[in-house]
């Protein structure tokens, strides 16, 4: 059940430069929220900015009825959001989207988060571990100061590896290389879940299909309504039928058909 409610901000802090962790009192949301879903936030009181901003549900604390979001300031909306303080009210819409699909039979779960993409993956790791899966997490960041969630994932009991593009912390290079190594070294996951920059998602989709394991990617697109009504947020998804083996596709709504899609079904043009 999707709700449009005002919730209280319990805390807000800048965890790494320009990235904020916000805790919301939202029992109505936590009740039904699934890992990979998001909320749609009205960041301003007025028309500037006008539209809501989609932000993933980072952590779900069912007992306390608390929802966490982790967001990066990139423009007007997220800037206003970062300026909110404890006690302020937030007008949100959610929980929205389909969320990740953890198969019961899966034993090994690989979670790959690049940059702020980590935001949508913590709740997923928590749930996977709750279900008794073996969980590995690969976190990618530009440099040491920007590494997100290392502790949080560890404390859940997941094996965590870190890659920084400049090598200022742990492994140097690309997160996708590390993924390939893990697989070559024989740790073949049953499912790969990922969120982050498009090129990374694309590469991971390739890797997953090569060793044909189920891959699920969380996509982003500019949104209007967030509830499937305006058709503003679409991405290219393959349709079953091909005509003379040219890929056929439809435009699916990230807000309701996604944000999580099967990696194998996404068409990665541009």
């Amino acid at each position: 059940m999707i709700l449009n409610i005002k919730v209280k901000i319990l805390s807000q802090k800048e965890v790494v430069p320009n990235i904020y962790l916000m805790k919301l009192k939202a029992p109505e949301i936590t009740q039904t929220a699934l890992p990979g879903q998001f909320i749609h936030i009205k960041c301003s009181q007025d028309y500037y900015p006008l539209l809501r901003r989609p932000i993933s549900i980072h952590r779900i604390d069912k007992e306390k009825g608390e929802t966490f979001i982790l967001f990066q300031v990139v423009g007007e909306g997220t800037k206003l959001l970062s300026q909110k303080a404890m006690g302020d009210e937030l007008d949100i819409l959610g929980p929205l989207g389909n969320g990740f699909n953890i198969y019961p039979q899966s034993q090994k779960i690989m979670i790959v988060g690049g940059g702020i993409g980590v935001a949508s993956l913590l709740a997923l790791a928590e749930e996977s571990i709750r279900q008794g899966k073996e969980v590995r997490v690969l976190i990618g960041a530009l440099k040491r100061e920007l590494v997100l969630g290392e502790k949080s994932f560890r404390s859940l009991g997941a094996k965590v590896d870190i890659v920084t593009n400049d090598g200022s912390y742990k492994h140097k290079g690309l997160i996708t290389n590390l993924l390939e190594e893990d697989i070559q070294e024989g740790w073949l996951p049953d499912q790969i879940f990922t969120c982050g920059p498009k090129p990374m998602l694309r590469k991971i989709a390739e890797i997953a299909s090569k060793v044909n394991i189920d891959g699920q990617v969380s996509l982003e697109e500019h949104m209007g309504c967030g509830i499937g009504a305006c058709l503003g947020c679409v991405c290219k998804i393959k349709t079953k039928e091909k005509n003379n083996n040219k890929e056929e596709y439809d435009y699916k709504r990230v807000c309701i058909d996604g944000p999580v899609f099967k990696a194998s079904e996404v068409i990665w043009d541009d």
Partner: protein
């Protein structure tokens, strides 16, 4: 205690509980909003623009925010009339609110065939009227041209008029030199009502990529930014035609809706506001009622076109 004011209006033969409708394309097929509002409380529901065959629409990004407005280039993505009839309308029949179908076509023939199809099943599927979209700026062929030349407007409306007895609402484009001329053509061609405005053509540029922000290059501007233009056009058309006007363009709150009604709109449509606040339409109905009570106006119809100049 004061007696409740009378909110009922009639628009081109369509009776509504109140003057607040939902604008095509911003309210999906209605069902999307049922978690938030009671669809029975709306004046009327106008569905996403439909075409004869399903339409895939434009590549993303399709929506870009601009100061107090949004640019959209959906490209009329829709399920096609067959699916609309069989999958979407049944749900809406559970409600007493009039359902209006917004129709588009690339060719005159498509418009006409679509109208005929809908006319045939209008009884059984509960269709209260048709809104003819001759003003969509976001499709290659057809679309807006029908709404930018009086003769073409007359032609498409007149031909549709011949195949259906359903109330016909013609939706006008603001991207014209003189909207009064187009409005008159639509009236003479047999329109029962007019709705205005559709979106203003606009664009936005990403200066770092030096690319248009919309994949479609241009899009339709809507939201508070366009309200002054929409109000002026409603006022102009109100002084020109005798058929009722459905006013829209940037209505976010009751006060905005009242501006349109005072300027001559018999009813109003809520568009972009639905994307920001799914309860917008209901809150606006409430606000209008409060205004009538405060100002001791017994019947909303007294307010229509009451602008003092």
């Amino acid at each position: 205690m004061t007696k409740k004011p009378q909110l009922e209006v009639e628009v081109g033969g369509i009776r509504m509980k109140n003057p607040v409708m939902t604008a095509s394309g911003t309210f999906g097929y209605g069902e999307e909003f049922s978690p938030f509002i009671d669809l029975d409380k709306l004046g009327a529901i106008v569905l996403k623009g439909i075409t004869l065959k399903p339409k895939r629409g434009n590549p993303p990004p399709r929506i870009i925010e601009t100061p107090s407005g949004i640019l959209n280039a959906i490209g009329l993505q829709n399920v096609g009339v067959e699916v609309l009839i069989n999958k979407k309308l049944p749900y809406l029949q559970k409600f007493t609110t009039p359902v209006i179908i917004n129709i588009s076509g690339d060719t005159l023939e498509e418009y006409v065939e679509l109208a005929r199809k809908l006319d045939n099943i209008s009884q059984e599927k509960g269709i209260a009227g048709l809104e003819i979209n001759i003003s969509c700026p976001n499709v290659q062929k057809g679309g807006m041209v029908w709404g930018t030349e009086a003769q073409l407007t007359y032609k498409v409306v007149n031909n549709i008029r011949k195949v259906t007895t359903l109330p016909l609402i013609v939706k006008l484009s603001p991207n014209v030199t003189d909207i009064k001329v187009i409005a008159q053509a639509a009236e003479e061609a047999g329109a029962d009502a007019l709705s205005l405005i559709n979106t203003l053509v606009g664009m936005a540029v990403d200066v770092s990529l030096r690319r248009p922000k919309l994949a479609n290059i241009s899009g339709g501007l809507s939201g508070p930014a366009v309200k002054p233009v929409a109000l002026w056009m409603v006022w102009q058309v109100f002084q020109t035609v005798n058929i009722p006007i459905i006013g829209m363009g940037g209505i976010m709150k009751a006060e905005d809706a009242l501006e349109f009604i005072i300027a001559g709109a018999r009813a109003v449509s809520i568009g972009t506001a639905n994307l920001v606040n799914p309860k917008a339409a209901i809150e606006i109905i409430k606000g209008i009622e409060e205004y009538l009570v405060e100002n001791k106006i017994k019947d909303i119809n007294e307010l229509v076109g009451s602008l003092k100049i």
